[in-house]
């Protein structure tokens, strides 16, 4: 059966997102290895002094461009594609989506300029009282508002589809993409309020001081669900695309997949205070409650692990795989899109474990603000998410451009080098954290480094070097693919794995929005209402801004 045809204009629009994402990754990734090299004692920043003034400026460029820009643009493009292709209909109002996209682009330029000019060396968390140039905050605001506008464009497209198909189940890839957008719309209210009511007027001189505790609480209202905004698009691919690519497998359970997305929507926002266990201004009772609900997210995470692995096992057994684990070898490892995502999933196995340790109220005291934390999130956002997105781009870019993937073997090598580099880098960061090494510190310059850290610091540099090589291969493949003169013989098949059971036979309540959205909002009010009310009632806009760079 011929697949749904996405229009050329829409392909170009989606491709524009991927282009901005990859450009951000190119610049941001250049600085990642520089942090790692610095830890190993190889300080390249001294050679970059005319352009990059400090380790912290490089760290800010790396965090903002990779964690915020690469992810957000790739996600907006990929989810826009999913909604169009899933619903089999064009965008209802592409102008609205384009307005959103350009707001985001203007926002990125506005935020990146002061970062590159050393006027906003505040790291990607931009905690006050570190004070950035107003354009940094304005730019971030535009990125968020632009993403909202794009999301509204997708929601009205869905409403148009629903009007014509009142009793049909929403196709999974469109459904899951829309849930991700709604999660984003809700959770970004925290950072929007933080910037608009405090940071922007403060940086413009309209108010004299800021309340760092309240600002941090607003930030983590957004900051933790941001992790799920990154992860859910990768999950969509793992659930609904990867089984097909890995061996013509089927999604094990459409209902479990839908339920897990609803649970992520409900549970991922009202748990942000687990990032603030050592903040003195947050009462312990709220830290405890948020820690308990954080463990609630373990359930949809395990449901995801079960369903995705079962779907892959189905694919592996269809290819003749036997035994408890030998079917893994029968998956289509030679396809770089598959290898990337399987390797991303394997490392996420350990990322999930580290996340549970971070979330534990007691155990967190060993890990808080140590190198364990960047070690952890390089397994999540930098591997589960980034390596998956790289894998997705290995079929999506040829699909969008009509050009053949350049050197698929090199793409597979890229996935493996990322995997090996990340194991070396992340493992040594985890161990350093357990040994007490702080995060966000140029350890190459620190006079207190004990001898037992040295071998691990070298491994951080080694892992960073391999990751740098892998990132460079990815960028070359993307460039060569986008300009490849060899065109695909026929349109690339979009890999959609059908579910084992007809989704129409699943419970109807899994396709109803109101109870889940009300539950998400209700839980936010319960879990954040009292603590935010108290903080706002006792707001202390007293801290002046600091420029420590």
């Amino acid at each position: 059966m011929k697949q749904y045809q996405v229009s050329a204009a829409e392909k170009k629009f989606i491709g524009s997102h991927i282009l901005v994402a990859v450009l951000a990754l190119a610049v941001g990734s250049f600085f990642g290895p520089l942090q790692a090299f610095e830890h190993a004692g190889w300080d390249f920043y001294i050679y970059l002094k005319p352009f990059i003034k400090s380790y912290y400026q490089g760290l800010t460029v790396h965090g903002v461009l990779n964690a915020l820009v690469w992810t957000t643009f790739f996600i907006m493009g990929f989810l826009t594609f999913n909604v169009i292709f899933g619903l089999k209909r064009p965008l209802k109002n592409i102008v609205l989506n384009k307005v959103g996209f350009w707001l985001m682009v203007v926002g990125v330029v506005a935020a990146a300029a002061p970062v590159l000019m050393n006027e906003a060396t505040v790291l990607f968390t931009f905690y006050p009282p570190l004070k950035a140039n107003p354009f940094f905050y304005l730019g971030l605001t535009l990125v968020v508002v632009g993403s909202w506008v794009e999301g509204w464009g997708l929601i009205i497209t869905y409403l148009g589809w629903r009007k014509e198909n009142p009793s049909e189940r929403t196709p999974f890839v469109a459904f899951a993409s829309l849930v991700t957008f709604v999660l984003w719309q809700i959770c970004t209210l925290g950072v929007a309020v933080e910037i608009l009511t405090m940071l922007l007027p403060w940086s413009l001189g309209l108010i004299e001081g800021v309340d760092p505790q309240l600002a941090r609480t607003y930030f983590w209202f957004t900051g933790h669900p941001l992790v799920y905004f990154w992860l859910l698009p990768a999950y969509i691919s793992w659930y609904a695309m990867l089984p097909k690519q890995a061996g013509n497998g089927k999604m094990f359970s459409d209902s479990l997949a839908r339920l897990s997305f609803w649970m992520f929507l409900v549970l991922s926002t009202p748990i942000g205070i687990h990032h603030q266990y050592v903040d003195p201004g947050v009462p312990p009772v709220w830290k405890f409650l948020h820690s308990m609900f954080t463990f609630g997210v373990f359930f949809p995470s395990m449901m995801t692990a079960f369903t995705v692995v079962a779907s892959l096992e189905h694919a592996g057994r269809k290819q003749g795989g036997k035994g408890a684990l030998a079917w893994i070898g029968k998956l289509n490892w030679s396809d770089p899109a598959v290898a990337s995502q399987l390797l991303a999933g394997i490392l996420f196995f350990f990322g999930g474990i580290g996340g549970l340790a971070n979330a534990s109220y007691n155990v967190n005291l060993v890990l808080h603000n140590t190198a364990f934390i960047p070690g952890h999130f390089h397994l999540t956002v930098s591997t589960a998410v980034t390596l998956s997105f790289m894998g997705i781009s290995y079929w999506l870019v040829p699909y969008l451009t009509g050009r053949k993937l350049w050197q698929p073997k090199w793409a597979t090598i890229q996935a493996w080098t990322w995997f090996v580099g990340m194991i070396i880098f992340s493992n040594s960061m985890h161990v350093l954290g357990l040994l007490g090494a702080p995060r966000r510190v140029p350890l190459g310059l620190a006079p207190y480094v004990p001898a037992e850290w040295n071998s691990r610091l070298f491994q951080v540099g080694l892992g960073g070097a391999i990751l740098f090589l892998s990132g460079a291969i990815y960028l070359v493949i993307m460039y060569m693919t986008a300009t490849n003169k060899q065109r695909v013989e026929s349109e690339v098949e979009v890999p959609i794995a059908e579910a084992m059971q007809d989704p129409a036979l699943g419970p109807a309540w899994l396709d109803r929005w109101a109870p889940w959205v009300y539950a998400a909002l209700g839980l936010i009010v319960l879990m954040y209402g009292p603590v935010l009310f108290d903080m706002i009632k006792n707001i202390a806009l007293t801290s002046p801004g600091f420029r420590v760079w």
Partner: protein, 46 residues
């Protein structure tokens, strides 16, 4: 509409259960290791 094949009916994700069991054992081992570090650093004393 998805077809439910006979082989789908017979499919039992035994390998998946094995992988998740390994995951849970690893999780407990790593969490307990960090917990023992906490205790070893005097985390139980005021």
């Amino acid at each position: 509409m998805a077809k439910k094949d006979k082989e789908d009916d017979e499919f039992r994700p035994t390998g998946t259960i094995a992988i998740l069991a390994i995951f849970v054992v690893t999780l407990i081992a790593i969490w307990a290791t960090i917990y023992m570090i906490l205790v070893g650093r005097g985390g139980t004393t005021l």
